[in-house]
C-alpha cells in the first residue's frame, strides 16, 4: 500500500498499546504519517482515536509498541519532546489559558524574543498572520475568555500551524466549527499537505474524512478494524467497519406533532444579545434553530433556560405566563436545557456519570428527604441501557469519550421528563452510532409529548430532525420554515446576511 | 538628656506611648494607669499597640515621632530589639521612658527604666513553690511563646531556683503560648506522662490557671500551681484554693509612674533615677485577703 511506507519515511507507529486500569483501550495499532498525505482516522466514541493520537504526541505513554521518525527511534516522554520532533496535536478538547491573550495562547511555550525580552509586537503580528490565514478576525490582543468556542477552536488550530509542524494530528477540529470555518481549516490542511506535512485527521463526519483522506484507518474498541489505502470509500463501508453492522444514516419524517401549544415566546429579547423572538412549540413538536455561528441561537435558548435573564418579552408555558429569572425557575416550569459546552456548563468533570445525571434531581430521587444510593443507581442503570452509555460507571466523566459524555449530559435532563427540552448542539463530537441513539431519544421524547427545541450548526441535523426550523441571523429571527420548505438553500438564504458571498458555504 | 536633634517642639503636651500589645491585662492595666495619670495632669496621650510584633512596633514609634510627641513611653515587645525604637526617638531628640523592658544595647539613651524584675519574680515564686513541696519532687514548667523576652527571663529565674534546689526535678518544659486553653491541654498530657507530678509553674497566671483546671478535672489534689502576673482572676483562684500563688506585678501603678516621669521630662529639669525596679508581691493563700487586686491592675480590675 502507498500508505505503508518505504521503511522509515515519515512517522511510523508499530504495535501501540495502552491500558487503563486493566482495560486495554488501544490494542496493537499500526499507523503511519507519511509526508504529503492525510490519514483519516475514524471509529466510534471511545474506540481509542484520541488515546492513539495522545501516544503519538507524547501526552500518553504507550504500554507497548514503538515509533520511529524517518527510521530513527521516536520516544516522546512529554509533549515537549513531541513538539521538538515537529509533532503537533490539535486536541479534541479545546484547551486555552483563559487568563492570557489570543497571541500568547498561540505562542505559549515559545514566545518570540528580541534582546532578551518577549517581542510582543512580533508575537501579535505573527499571530494575526496565522489567524488571517484561517480567515479569523480575532484580535490577537484579546483575552481568551471573551471568545466563543468556535473562535477558540480556531486559535487552537492557529497554535498548531504557527509551529510549522512536520506531523499534525487534527482530533475532531470541526466539532465546534461552522461550515465556513471548517472550509478554511480544510484549505490549511491542503496547504500543509502541499508543504510536505504528514497528517492525521479525526472526525465523526464521514464526508469530511472521505473528502480529505489519502488513506483511512478505522478503529473499533481499541483494535484496528479496517484500513483503506484510498479516501474513496463508500460511507456505508466505513460505518459498517466502525460499528460492525449496517447503519441507516438518515432521517425519516418525524411523527405528527400534537396540537397543544406547550411553550409560546413573544417579543423575547436581551439587550445586546438578541431581540424580537417569537415562536411557539407544540407538544410533540421539534423546532430546529439554525443560523451561522454567532447568530445568537445559544443566547436565546440560554435565556429560556434561565441561565441569562431576558430584558423584554413574554414566555408562556402550558398557557401560563411564566417568569424565568433563574435555572431553578426554568426547571420548575419544566424547561430543561442541554448546554452547548458540556465541559464548562454541562458536566462536573471530576464526578462519575451517576452523580452527573442525578445532579438536578436529588430532591425528586430522595425519599423523605433522604437521597439513597439505590435510587441513584437505578436511574443511572436505566439511562445506561436507554442511551447505550459505555465506559466505566465509577470513573470521572472527564475520562469518558466525548460521545459518552454527551449521552450522560442528555440523560441528565431526561431523568425527570421536561415539558420543554432544549438541546444546544446535541451531537457535538458524537459518533454516528451515538448520533442515531441521540436522534432516536429525541424522537421518542417528542412522541411522549415533549416540546423539543434543537439548536445545531449541522444543517443536516436540524433539517432531518425538525418539524419546523427557525432561522436566526445577528440576533434577530429571520423566519420560520416548515419542514417541507426547509431545504438547505432556503435556510442558508435566510441565515446569510444579504451581501455576503455565499461561495464560502 | 538628648535634646541636640531638637525634633520635639518645646511645650508639647503630647505623650506618645508605644506598647507591645493591648490584649494582655498587664499592658492594658499599664495603659489604664497612664491614661489616668495623663488625664489628671491635663496631658494628651497618644497610644499605639503593636500586637506583639517588633517590626510593627518600630513602625509605630516612627508614626508617633511623626506626630511630634514630646516624650515617648516605650514598652517594647522584646528587649533585644528595643534598641531600634529608642534609637529613632534619640535621633528625633525625644526623651524615652522605658517601661517593663529596656534595650540591651548600650548605644542608645533612655531617661529612666521602670520595671518588675522578672528574673527575680520567677525566682521568688519558684523558690516559694519548692518550699511548699518540701524541697523535693517533680515539677513541670509551662513557658510562654518561645523566644519572647518575658519567657526567657521567667525561665531563667526559675532555672536559678532549680539550681538551688537539687531535690526538685523539672521533668517537663512545654510552651503553652500564654494561653489558658493550650495550658489546659498540655497539662492533661503532662499529667498522663508524669503521674508523680507535684507542681506546675506557669510563667503566666493564665497558664497556671489552665494547668490547675486540668489537674482538678483529672481529680488530682494536693498539687501546687503558681504563676506570675497577679490577675484578678488569679486572686479569686487562690482564695478558692484552685491555685496557690502568684507574683503580682503592679502595672497600673507603673503606668502612672511612667506618665509622671514623662511629664517631668517635658517640663524639664527632671533628675530621674536610671532604673526603677518595682517589687512584685508574692500573693498566696495566706495573704490574698489582704491584697486588693485594684492596687495591682487598677479600677478596671474591680469589675471581676
Amino acid at each position: 500500500m502507498a500508505a505503508s511506507p518505504r521503511t522509515g519515511a515519515g512517522l511510523v507507529c508499530t504495535g501501540l498499546t495502552k491500558q487503563y486500569g486493566g482495560v486495554t483501550v488501544v490494542n496493537d495499532i499500526d499507523i503511519a504519517l507519511v509526508p504529503g498525505r492525510v490519514v483519516g482516522l475514524v471509529g466510534e466514541n471511545g474506540a481509542g482515536k484520541s488515546t492513539t493520537s495522545g501516544m503519538i504526541a507524547g501526552l500518553v505513554q504507550p504500554d507497548r509498541g514503538s515509533m520511529t521518525i524517518d527510521g530513527d527511534p521516536y520516544e516522546p516522554r512529554s509533549p515537549g519532546d513531541a513538539l521538538k520532533a515537529g509533532v503537533v496535536l490539535i486536541h479534541q478538547e479545546i484547551r486555552m489559558v483563559r487568563e492570557l491573550t489570543v497571541a500568547e495562547n498561540i505562542f505559549i511555550g515559545r514566545l518570540p524574543m528580541r534582546g532578551g525580552r518577549v517581542d510582543r509586537a512580533r508575537m501579535n503580528e505573527e499571530a494575526a498572520d496565522v489567524l488571517a490565514r484561517l480567515g479569523s478576525r480575532v484580535d490577537p490582543r484579546q483575552r481568551i475568555d471573551e471568545l466563543s468556542i468556535a473562535a477558540q477552536q480556531e486559535i487552537e488550530i492557529a497554535r498548531a500551524l504557527s509551529r510549522k509542524p512536520r506531523f499534525v494530528i487534527f482530533d475532531e477540529p470541526s466539532a465546534s466549527l461552522g461550515k465556513s470555518e471548517t472550509a478554511r481549516v480544510f484549505d490549511q490542511i491542503e496547504a500543509l499537505k502541499a508543504g510536505g506535512a504528514g497528517i492525521v485527521y479525526i472526525s465523526h463526519r464521514i464526508e469530511e474524512i472521505t473528502r480529505l483522506s489519502d488513506a483511512i484507518v478505522c478503529l473499533r474498541d481499541g483494535h484496528l478494524a479496517a484500513r483503506w489505502d484510498t479516501g474513496d470509500v463508500s460511507r456505508e463501508a466505513i460505518v459498517r467497519a466502525m460499528v460492525g453492522r449496517d447503519f441507516t444514516y438518515g432521517h425519516g419524517t418525524p411523527p405528527e406533532a400534537g396540537n397543544r401549544t406547550v411553550i409560546e415566546v413573544s417579543g423575547l429579547g436581551r439587550t445586546g444579545a438578541f431581540e424580537g423572538i417569537d415562536f411557539a412549540v407544540r407538544a410533540g413538536e421539534i423546532l430546529g434553530v439554525a443560523g451561522l455561528v454567532g447568530a445568537g441561537r445559544t443566547e436565546v435558548v440560554r435565556t429560556l433556560a434561565g441561565a441569562d435573564r431576558a430584558t423584554e418579552g413574554r414566555i408562556v408555558v402550558d398557557g401560563e405566563d411564566t417568569v424565568i429569572r433563574s435555572p431553578q425557575d426554568a426547571i420548575r416550569a419544566g424547561i430543561a436545557m442541554v448546554p452547548e459546552d458540556r465541559k464548562s456548563q454541562g458536566l462536573l468533570l471530576a464526578r462519575d456519570s451517576m452523580d452527573n445525571m442525578t445532579l438536578p434531581w436529588q430532591r425528586h430521587l430522595s425519599r423523605r428527604g433522604i437521597v439513597t444510593r439505590s435510587a441513584l443507581t437505578a436511574t443511572y442503570r436505566r439511562f445506561r441501557e436507554e442511551l447505550d452509555i459505555r465506559g466505566q460507571a465509577d470513573v470521572a466523566v472527564a475520562h469518558l469519550s466525548g460521545g459518552n459524555q454527551q449521552k450522560v449530559l442528555l440523560a441528565k435532563w431526561l431523568v425527570h421528563q421536561p415539558k420543554v427540552l432544549i438541546l444546544d448542539e446535541p451531537t457535538r463530537g458524537v459518533d454516528v452510532g451515538a448520533k442515531m441513539t441521540i436522534y432516536a431519544a429525541i424522537r421518542r421524547l417528542a412522541e411522549d409529548g415533549v416540546a423539543v427545541i434543537v439548536v445545531s450548526s449541522e444543517l443536516e441535523e436540524v433539517l432531518g430532525l425538525s418539524h419546523r426550523v427557525l432561522v436566526m441571523a445577528e440576533g434577530r429571527p429571520q423566519g420560520i420554515l416548515d419542514r417541507a420548505d426547509a431545504t438547505p438553500e432556503a435556510v442558508m438564504r435566510l441565515a446569510l446576511p444579504q451581501h455576503a458571498d455565499a461561495t464560502h458555504i | 538628656s538628648t535634646t541636640d536633634a531638637g525634633g520635639a517642639p518645646t511645650g508639647s503636651k503630647t505623650i506618645g506611648v508605644s506598647i507591645a500589645d493591648q490584649k494582655s491585662l498587664f499592658y492594658i492595666a499599664a495603659a489604664d494607669g497612664m491614661k489616668a495619670a495623663a488625664e489628671e495632669a491635663g496631658y494628651t496621650l497618644v497610644l499605639e499597640s503593636a500586637d506583639n510584633d517588633a517590626t510593627r512596633q518600630v513602625n509605630q514609634v516612627q508614626n508617633l515621632l511623626t506626630q511630634q510627641v514630646g516624650v515617648l513611653i516605650y514598652t517594647p515587645q522584646d528587649a533585644t530589639a528595643a534598641g531600634a525604637g529608642v534609637r529613632l526617638a534619640n535621633d528625633a531628640g525625644v526623651p524615652v521612658v522605658a517601661l517593663d523592658q529596656k534595650p540591651e544595647t548600650d548605644d542608645v539613651e533612655i531617661s529612666t527604666f521602670i520595671a518588675t524584675d522578672s528574673v527575680k519574680a520567677a525566682y521568688d515564686v519558684c523558690t516559694w513553690m519548692f518550699e511548699q513541696m518540701g524541697g523535693e519532687g517533680d515539677i513541670a514548667v509551662l513557658q510562654g511563646p518561645l523566644g519572647a523576652t518575658a519567657e526567657l527571663q521567667r525561665t531563667e529565674g526559675c532555672k536559678k531556683a532549680l539550681a538551688e534546689n537539687p531535690g526538685i526535678n523539672a521533668v517537663q518544659w512545654e510552651s503553652a503560648g500564654w494561653d489558658e486553653t493550650q495550658a489546659f491541654d498540655t497539662t492533661q498530657n503532662i499529667l498522663t506522662a508524669h503521674p508523680e507530678l507535684k507542681a506546675v509553674f506557669g510563667e503566666s497566671d493564665a497558664m497556671a490557671l489552665g494547668a490547675a483546671k486540668a489537674a482538678q478535672q483529672a481529680g488530682r489534689t494536693g498539687m501546687v500551681f503558681a504563676g506570675i502576673d497577679g490577675f484578678p482572676t488569679m486572686f479569686t483562684a487562690i482564695s478558692d484554693g484552685l491555685t496557690q500563688a502568684t507574683m503580682a506585678q503592679q502595672p497600673y501603678m507603673m503606668g502612672k509612674l511612667a506618665v509622671e516621669n514623662a511629664i517631668q521630662l517635658l517640663e524639664g529639669g527632671a533628675d530621674l533615677p536610671q532604673d526603677q525596679y518595682q517589687d512584685a508581691v508574692l500573693v498566696t493563700g495566706d495573704n490574698v485577703a489582704e491584697n486588693d487586686p485594684t492596687k495591682f491592675y487598677g479600677p478596671e480590675a474591680a469589675r471581676n
Binding site: 504495535g15 486500569g21 459498517r240 | 510552651s175 482572676t233 471581676n304
Partner: protein, 349 residues
C-alpha cells in the same frame, strides 16, 4: 486481541472479520481492579499515616494507650473538630474561612459580656453568643455572594474585625464565674465518654448525614466542582453558600462555648491559634482547597492525626522547640505515605 497482526489487516484492506466485532463485549476482567479502586478511593485521606502514628506512639509511650489518655485526646480535639466541620463545608464549596478562630473568641466574649457585665440571664446570653457566631458567618456569606469578594479577603476582613472586637468588648478582661451547669458540661461523661466528645460526634454525624444524604448537602460538592454547572442544574448556589458560611460561623461559636465551659472562662485571645490547625485538619483529611472534594471521614482522620500527634509529642517529652519540626515532618510523611499506599492499591503508576 483479535487483530494481532496489523499487517494482515492492512493487507485485508476492507472491513474486519466477524471475530473482531465480537471483541466489543466487555471482558469480565474489567470489574476486578475497579472494585479495589473504589474501595481504596473510599479509604479516608491519610488513614495509613494515622495508623502508623498510632502504632508508633503506642510502642514509644506506655501512657499513650491508656483509656484516660485517649479520653483526654477526645476532649482536646473537640473544639477544633467542631470548627473543622464548618471549615470542611466551606472548603467543599471552594471557599475558605479565615475567621473561625476570631469568631470563636468574639462569640464567647459576647456571651461572657452579656452574662457578666449586663446581667442578662445566662441562657439568653448563650443563645446570643451563638447568634453572633452565625451572624459573622452570614456576613462572610453576604460578602462572598452579594459582594463577590474572594472568600480569602472577605473572611480576612471579618477575622480582623472580630479579633479587635473580642478584646474591645471587655477591654481585654476575661470573664469567669459561669453557671455551674454550664461549666460542668465539659466535665461530665455519659457512658464513659466525655460530653464534648459526644457533641463532636453528633456534629460530625449530622454533617455527614447532610452532606451524604440530603439534597441540600450534596449540592455543596456540585458548587465546589463547577459553580456554573451547579447553577444551571437548578441548585440555589447563592442561598447554599449563605447557609454554609452561616453554619461555619455557628459551629465556631459552638466550639467557643465548649472552650468557655471547659475553662470556666471567656477569653478574648482564645482561638487565635486554631485557624491553621482547623484548615490543616481538613486538608490533611484529603479535601482540596480548589473545592469539590472532601469528606467528614477524612476530616476526622485529619483531626485525629493532629490531635494524636500533639498529645504524643507531649507524652514523649519532645523538646518544645522541636515539636513543630516533628509535627511538620510527620504531616508530610503521613500525607505522602497514604498517597503511596493508595497508588499501590489502585494500580496507578
Amino acid at each position: 486481541m483479535t487483530v494481532s497482526d496489523p499487517s494482515t489487516t492492512a493487507a485485508g484492506a476492507t472491513a474486519a472479520s466477524p471475530a473482531t466485532i465480537a471483541a466489543r463485549t466487555v471482558p469480565a476482567d474489567r470489574r476486578e481492579p475497579r472494585a479495589w479502586k473504589k474501595w481504596a478511593g473510599r479509604v479516608p485521606g491519610p488513614l495509613v499515616g494515622l495508623v502508623v502514628i498510632f502504632v508508633l506512639l503506642s510502642i514509644l509511650s506506655p501512657y499513650f494507650l491508656t483509656s484516660r489518655n485517649l479520653l483526654n485526646i477526645v476532649t482536646q480535639i473537640s473544639a477544633v473538630g467542631i470548627m473543622s466541620v464548618g471549615a470542611l463545608m466551606v472548603i467543599i464549596i471552594g471557599g475558605i474561612d479565615l475567621s473561625v478562630g476570631a469568631t470563636l473568641a468574639l462569640s464567647s466574649m459576647v456571651m461572657g459580656y452579656l452574662f457578666s457585665y449586663s446581667g442578662m440571664p445566662f441562657e439568653l446570653a448563650l443563645v446570643l453568643g451563638l447568634a453572633v457566631g452565625a451572624l459573622i458567618g452570614l456576613l462572610n456569606g453576604i460578602l462572598v455572594t452579594v459582594g463577590r469578594l474572594q472568600p480569602f479577603i472577605a473572611t480576612l476582613a471579618t477575622m480582623s474585625a472580630a479579633t479587635g472586637l473580642a478584646v474591645f468588648i471587655t477591654g481585654g478582661n476575661t470573664v469567669n464565674g459561669f453557671p455551674e451547669w454550664f461549666v460542668s458540661l465539659t466535665r461530665l461523661s455519659i457512658a464513659g465518654i466525655p460530653v464534648q466528645g459526644l457533641i463532636l460526634l453528633a456534629v460530625f454525624l449530622l454533617a455527614a448525614f447532610w452532606l451524604r444524604l440530603r439534597p441540600g448537602g450534596r449540592a455543596l460538592y456540585a458548587i465546589g466542582g463547577n459553580e456554573e454547572v451547579a447553577r444551571l442544574s437548578g441548585i440555589p448556589v447563592r442561598r447554599t453558600k449563605l447557609v454554609v458560611y452561616t453554619l461555619a460561623g455557628l459551629l465556631a461559636a459552638l466550639g467557643g462555648l465548649l472552650v468557655t465551659s471547659r475553662l470556666d472562662s471567656a477569653q478574648p485571645t482564645a482561638g487565635a491559634a486554631d485557624l491553621l490547625n482547623v484548615i490543616a485538619v481538613v486538608v490533611i483529611g484529603g479535601a482540596s482547597l480548589a473545592g469539590g472534594t472532601g469528606s467528614l471521614l477524612g476530616t476526622f482522620v485529619g483531626l485525629l492525626i493532629i490531635g494524636v500527634l500533639n498529645n504524643g509529642l507531649s507524652l514523649l517529652g519532645v523538646s518544645p522547640n522541636l515539636q513543630p519540626v516533628v509535627l511538620g515532618a510527620v504531616i508530610v510523611a503521613a500525607v505522602l505515605t497514604d498517597r503511596q499506599a493508595r497508588k499501590a492499591q489502585s494500580g496507578e503508576r
